[in-house]
């Protein structure tokens, strides 16, 4: 791990009296692809939001892209280097696919030819002139992914990007994420699909806000003596 893009330890976050993330630590360098795996409500989204600077941690500290992350006043993360895809279909429904991409290109100060490249790379030419609001879930996710990575971010944060998608789109998205990691970005992706998580090089298992240490699916499966990650996780979940 040559250069650490994410180096955090002991991050916790509570909303009111409910603690949603407890004592999460993580170290990521260029080329890492990490899956945050666990059931809904386990704290994955809040972790991603803390990494993106959208939510301030209550305790813990560290750095994200060199900016200090801690409770109270954090440093300003360089948003030009972060790609973030939220769980909601958070693009402008009234704008076409092309217009949404153009907006993101303009705020990032990118040349207009990146839009054409993105349309071709993610197979979006056919829907380029359609309004985002009328797209099916699969197409909408592709567009959302394209806008998140348009500026080739160093750190890519994806919140349940494959939830509810058909198998073709799911595989395409995993493939694109892997390509990004291979190209030198650090990618953090949350999922509750254990079969998909099994194919990731690194995972952190979330349960009730607590996260396991970074590990590989193989190590988890081996330690549990189970045939699959799903069986290993279910075994751990037994009271």
């Amino acid at each position: 791990m040559a250069e650490l893009l994410v180096d955090i330890s002991g991050l916790s976050k509570a909303f009111g009296s409910r603690t949603v993330v407890r004592d999460v630590s993580m170290r990521l360098g260029a080329g890492d692809l990490l899956g945050l795996v666990g059931a809904n409500g386990g704290g994955k989204t809040t972790t991603l939001r803390m990494l993106a600077g959208l939510v301030k941690p209550d305790t813990g500290s560290g750095t994200v892209l060199g900016a200090a992350i801690r409770s109270g006043r954090s440093g300003r993360i360089d948003q030009r280097q972060i790609g973030y895809m939220s769980q909601k279909l958070a693009l402008y429904a009234e704008l076409t696919v092309l217009e949404n991409l153009r907006f993101h290109a303009r705020v990032h100060g990118l040349r207009s030819d990146v839009i054409g490249d993105a349309l071709a790379r993610y197979g979006l030419e056919a829907v380029a002139s359609q309004r985002f609001g009328v797209l099916s879930g699969g197409w909408a996710r592709r567009v959302q992914f394209a806008t998140s990575v348009l500026h080739a971010p160093l750190l890519l944060l994806l919140d349940e990007p494959t939830a509810g998608l058909d198998v073709v789109t799911r595989l395409a998205l995993w493939d694109w994420m892997a390509q990004f990691a291979s190209a030198g970005s650090a990618v953090v992706v949350s999922t509750h699909d254990l079969a998909e998580a099994e194919r990731l090089p690194q995972i952190m298992l979330y349960r009730d806000g607590r996260a396991s240490a970074q590990t590989t699916p193989g190590q988890l499966i081996g330690a549990a003596g189970s045939p699959t990650l799903e069986a290993a996780v279910l075994g751990q979940a037994q009271p």
């Binding site: 939001r49 993106a52 600077g53 959208l54 939510v55 301030k56 360089d78 948003q79 030009r80 972060i82 973030y84 939220s86 909601k88 279909l89 958070a90 693009l91 402008y92 429904a93 993101h104 705020v107 990032h108």
Partner: protein
Amino acid sequence: MSRLRRIAAVAAVESTRLMRTRIALTLLLLVPLLQIVLFGTAIRPDAAVTVAIAAPSKRDAETVASELGQQHNLAVVAKGAPGTAEAMVRRGGAVIGVEVPEARSFANPLAKGGPLRIVVDASNASLASAATARIEAAYWRALAERGDASGPGLKVERLYNPESRADWSFLPGLVGVTVMIAMIMLGTLSLAREREGGTWEALLILPVGRGEVLLGKLLPYVAIGTVQGLAVMMVGFWLFELPVRGNAAALAALLPLFAAAHLALGYAIAARARTQLAALQGAVAFYLPAMLLSGFLYPFATLPGWAQTIGNLFPLTHFNRAATGVMLRGEGWPLVLEQALPIAAFTLLAAAVAALFQARTLD
């Protein structure tokens, strides 16, 4: 029976949702309360109309003032030499000016001379008409008491609105009211919709500053507000023969600033409110008192002092003055710039509050 049960179920859910939107609920109670208090204490349509008296001698002026002072709802605010009453009306210091000609007064109505001149600022027709009628009645009664029912007449000069058209009185203010309501609503919804739709989260992660987001989101609406205000002016001009006697360009130049003031305010309200419903309630809580205390619905001069102080905080009050001045009184840049200053101060304050409340995080 099952239908009733279903309706009851929907009603229960709706009530619960409303009860849990605390700001909306508070405002739903606050807005009517505010209206009642304002209507009950500030709005007094029968409040005294200001009168200035000009007469050749101090004694004549005192006599006329004494006569008029006994009249209901007339308040003599100045007494001076011939010509000063009309000048005061033209300056906006009084609604009615009574010019007593040389050797003629209520005290000596049989003397020879020209008619008594009553100069009226008719830009607010309803306010001026009733008061003018009372002065005319007082004059004729004074003549009758002195045994000269056929004495010299009086001449009423209605400035700015010679036909006392009621529509001319409120149309200039309507330009401001239309733009104000539309801009508060648009400013409010532009942010509230983003937050509820989820695009706000995506916007926060982009390399765009708070001030840049504020300006970028509001600029298109400033253009819309300006066009909207001009359209209302044009409709007034074509359909209701509303004159624009002064500098129309000066008034048009005030429209973008006026629109920006309410957009920034709407944005500030939405930045604090959690839901669209709460934000809209906040908007209503602002624009109702603005309409009541700006001089649009009721003449500003009839409001009590405390209500005028509050009224002067609203941009609508200043726009109303500028619009009435330009359209009916033939005023131009000096008046518009004078009224633009408080609107600009309001805009800066609202924008600062909006930028401050516009959270950089989702905490």
